[in-house]
Symmetry: D2
Subunit: 307 residues, 4 copies
């Protein structure tokens, strides 16, 4: 299979769709991104990275960071994590608080906002949000073998200034005793992780271990156990796209995670990690053109997890 | 891989757990089943069927029938089906009506009760529920190569007599114009499909085509297209166990569908179809011991879809 | 106080507003009513009945019948009624089913649809819906001293044909064991009571006893005890207009009950019973022009219950 | 009518019930109050104040303060207030956030927590919470003719420390643009108003104007217009006791407002203002013994608003 050619063809196919969807406008830093941007990159086990379009331009990965914090928290806490968060699809939008009231402050899964806030809380020791973020950065740089990966602090600041809804979610969980650190401490880490800036190529490389049973196929380093890796992918498959997760599984057939910056990280087990980026979103916050590109790619590669 | 041995070991492993869970008691015919029953069978592409326990005893497949009606409706309607039902996990119990009010009579997916009622409605032409059921029976007998498969009419009668909640769901959707046939016509088919009685061996055989891209590997008959088969599995993966779908994906890592009779049909792409049966259920209506057995089996075979 | 003059002035005031609001269109019989109709009548303790406009034209009283069935059920059951229905405002539309799922089949109050269905069920003995309706008719004719009051059977038939939502509510409650009679038996009575046709003059006269501590001031007949009368008014005040009850109390300051036929029965304790009718409705199903007229009337008479 | 005797008899009647209900325990300052406390006082138009029990002991009036801030906001904003808060019963508990999500940050009424937070926000000019609280204190002291009325700052501090749920509600509304001041500024005022400490005698006196069309019958001072007064009472009647408002109207028949400190302020139009206090609460946060005492009192005085 000539992945370079497939990536090029996929990029060509979506050319007429560039600019579709609605760019997130809740923070200025996201709203000003060119809606016609599109990038795609595939990290493969031999260390190659077929890519096309704006695959080397950094974008705000937003909620895709939840995959990496979830992985870290699972390593740190093991099954204890599940005392504080469920692992079920929510059936509701990413920032819904209704479920939290019904289920007494326990969020539905680690990939919706309240669940990710709990996960971030879990990663903070002694109230030191900076240390938690430093560690996350170090891990991502290691995974991606690229020390230039960083946080976009303008975005992080903007997230915090417009973060009323996330503050509400965090205080709500705190009222049920489901946060160990101060709300503002947790959020200061949360807003920074959302503001991580990576290119498609960096993001695909950082997630490559998830496609190979938790072991980086390039460096040979084991990052999580094979069982844990499968479980992370299972949560991505059922919960990775909020109330659009079923549709993504139906159309793409691979575990993935979307971010409102327009990125999607998708894992093809035993094949590679795919990152796409295009800022326009559908109603559930998944990149419209990104999803189209993934559909094309899966059609061409036959990489669906379902046979 | 010696599947006969693996099946035998799996059955031995769950021996101490037999009888766990809570047998469904909403209809007498289900409540009187021996809670210690346990069966497991794997239909394989070579036509063999490793099995253990009560794998040849018929049980009420209940909601597992939704997989087969969904498959038929998708063939009949194509994408038009999605005008009448979503394909997203519901985040709510199997018989919840809350989502229907919020989303104006469109059920969340074809594998929750209201969604399956819409699917059944779709399969009925000219108000002839008997013809629809005859067709379903014929299809299942063909798939399983076993003409003895039948409906347990005592169960069907009992379903109808205690079917107030399903009647409520159906009338609710009818009030939004989302049923084409009379409510009682649709329910008369729906209650019969729930009362289908199959053994683990028959059920696994009937579902085998789903493990091989929609083509029966024994007879060579194509039943659904490869793409459609993947899509059916995607819906099973994200929605097959109501508000327990995330947990099932996390623990088992394979698409499946549970029924309150205690059966679970699970698909291992390119490997086989697995049916387990044990009447005791967890809170979400999935067989407690059945899920344990599947967890064991996946551990031993490495059949997780996630790597 | 010259009520004749006040009624005439009130009618004159609302003249420019005639036709406002949206006529109920869920059944043809209601949809075809002239939207410009307007009637007002006040039954007073001396037997007089100041009135204006179309006050002698019959209209479908719809949910206003719930006041009379509620009164009858309270007499029949006493406090036992409250085991099957709450007496709290619902905060939701008249036909919402969400609250029923959350509160396990117990409706919020006797003046929303599901609550009124339970009340009707309570009035049916031995499955005889006809006897219950005969009794209701007799009671209304007695109260109004007018044997010509009757059911509009065309409307009743139409209600039944389009009654999917009410069927859903009834089956839902039946699934929790909160109906004693067969669903269709209960609904056959319910649809007929909704189809009662009265004029403003008849309706005001029929409700007069509620303004005088439960005793008809004209005939001297005690209909309900003083305490029970106060309680009926309390439920009308807090629950009489679905999710518009607070606004009605705020603007009018009197207990009342609306119907989607455009009628409103309002009680001014120790003064009289007021019936208005105008088919156009607001979003919550209360007559737009009827509420305006009541606001005017209360302004002129000073009859607010709040001082 | 000898109110001194009636008050004494009412107090005697409830003697065996003292201590019933569950004392609020979410803040230590409330939890440590003696559950057997009981006070009752009636402010009458002649300046007298029949009272019994612990009627001169200060308690935390908590949500009863919402009546006074609502009255002030209505004077300040007029109908503009209704752009930011509805006036409908919520059908949900005092601190529920579900309705806020459904209705996009507009709370149901000024007497539930989120509605009262909006009201408090409305009373703060230029971000000066202290000035708003100073004004509220001055108003209450004027109404009650008692300059000793003050805030219990230990309670206020405790409210703030345990105020995660109210913080969540406030940030949620802020995310919809429904707060003009900073969340912590608004809450600093809100927590202080909840911590107002008054005795039954003071509270009844402070609310007396509401029983006389908005005019203090002792001093002759007009505080709000007659129409506005009726409207405040209407909101108290339909919304004053959260999801227990219907039951309170049914049993007591007077507009009132409860607080989780165990106090209830009740208005008998043209008669007087009644304050009761007893710390034990029912499930909806209304004083159990207080409500019993009011039921007795209304039985003896015949003061129901419903005839």
């Amino acid at each position: 299979m000539d992945l370079d050619q497939i990536v090029a063809e996929t990029a060509a196919d979506i050319e007429p769709h560039r600019g579709k969807g609605k760019v997130a406008d809740y923070i200025p830093a996201l709203a000003k991104v060119d809606p016609k941007k599109f990038g795609i990159a595939i990290a493969t086990p031999d260390g190659a990275c077929p890519k096309a379009g704006d695959a080397d331009e950094s974008f705000s990965i937003q909620s895709i960071s939840k995959v990496f914090t979830f992985s870290l928290a699972l390593q740190k806490a093991g099954d204890d994590l599940w005392k504080r968060v469920w692992r079920e699809p929510s059936g509701t939008p990413f920032n819904s608080i209704v479920q939290l009231e019904r289920e007494k402050g326990i969020p539905r899964n680690p990939l919706v906002n309240p669940g990710a806030i709990v996960v971030t809380d879990h990663l903070i020791d002694n109230g030191d949000a900076d240390a938690a973020i430093d560690n996350l950065l170090r891990v991502l740089r290691d995974h991606a073998e690229d020390d230039s990966i960083d946080i976009d602090y303008e975005v992080a600041m903007s997230e915090s200034e417009t973060g009323a809804r996330n503050r509400s979610l965090a205080h709500f969980m705190a009222s049920f005793g489901n946060l160990e650190n101060e709300v503002e401490v947790v959020l200061s880490a949360y807003f920074r992780q959302c503001a991580l800036a990576l290119s498609c190529a960096q993001l695909a490389r950082a997630g490559l271990f998830l496609a190979f049973d938790g072991k980086d196929p390039v460096t040979g380093e084991r990052i999580v156990s094979a069982q844990r890796c499968r479980r992370i992918l299972a949560v991505m498959m059922t919960c990775g796209h909020y109330d659009n997760s079923g549709d993504f599984a139906y159309r793409i057939g691979l575990p993935g995670k979307s971010g409102v910056g327009g990125g999607v990280l998708t894992i093809a087990p035993n094949e590679g990690a795919i990152a796409v980026w295009s800022p326009g979103l559908n109603d559930a916050g998944t990149s419209t053109v990104g999803a189209l590109a993934l559909e094309e790619l899966v059609e061409r590669t036959g990489w669906s997890i379902f046979g």
